[in-house]
Point group: C2
Chain length 138, copies 2
């Protein structure tokens, strides 16, 4: 059943990881795992120093070309009566500098960032719509 | 570090759940959780009778408008030295009927489908590229 927006946003705030979908100017969708923090109606994330396949990140290029993004967080387990997901659709922009506040939000949520540099850029997503679903309300 | 294509495809085949990104003709990306099976270089999934927020599914509409899709499966845990993800980019089409073989693949993978009708349509994704990343090779 549908989750109301307050409950969906609550679950998004609490989620430890999620997924970011972007689309290039060519219309091809792209999806990556995302660690993020939520500040009011804004999702923030940063490129960090975890090893990457490439430093020319398609998520960043896509957002510069097309700011529409979708972020999902979910719970999966073999008992399908306990599934849920929440999705935030919004508009993103890239911060190439001046992301100390964003880094602070991420470090406050993720103790793992004590040992990993937040090199940037930052991805800032203004949430326009939050929706969610749960297979039950338990 | 990057996973080679064979290893990435192996992890995709074994994954119990994943995420499907599509983009509409308006360029807006969309993302949903996905249960799927992999048959050679094809990912198959079906709309099932689990309760949905809507029967007019945007994933299906988007694929009819724009067949480019991206599928991700990953492993997240608080120990970031053990993260990994795999992503398959490809071209999808919708099967509105004649999906008995697809249903069989899904029922063979997911015992949960014994009790849930696979009502269709089916989503068939021809994999064009598989990539992956792991924070370590353990």
């Amino acid at each position: 059943m549908s989750l109301d927006e307050t409950e969906a946003l609550h679950r998004l705030v609490a989620a430890r990881s999620g997924y970011l979908a972007t689309a290039g100017s060519d219309g091809r969708p792209h999806i990556v795992p995302l660690v993020f923090a939520v500040d009011d109606r804004t999702i923030v994330s940063m490129v960090d120093a975890k090893p990457k396949r490439s430093t020319d990140l398609r998520r960043v290029r896509n957002i510069r070309d097309n700011p529409s993004v979708s972020v999902l967080a979910d719970h999966y387990e073999p008992d399908w009566s306990r599934l849920w997901w929440v999705r935030a659709d919004g508009t993103a922009h890239i911060l190439d500098s001046g992301f100390e506040q964003v880094a602070g939000l991420l470090r406050a949520k993720y103790p793992q960032y004590v040992d990993i540099d937040l090199v940037g850029p930052a991805i800032i997503i203004d949430i326009e719509r939050v929706a969610g679903w749960a297979s039950s309300t338990r």
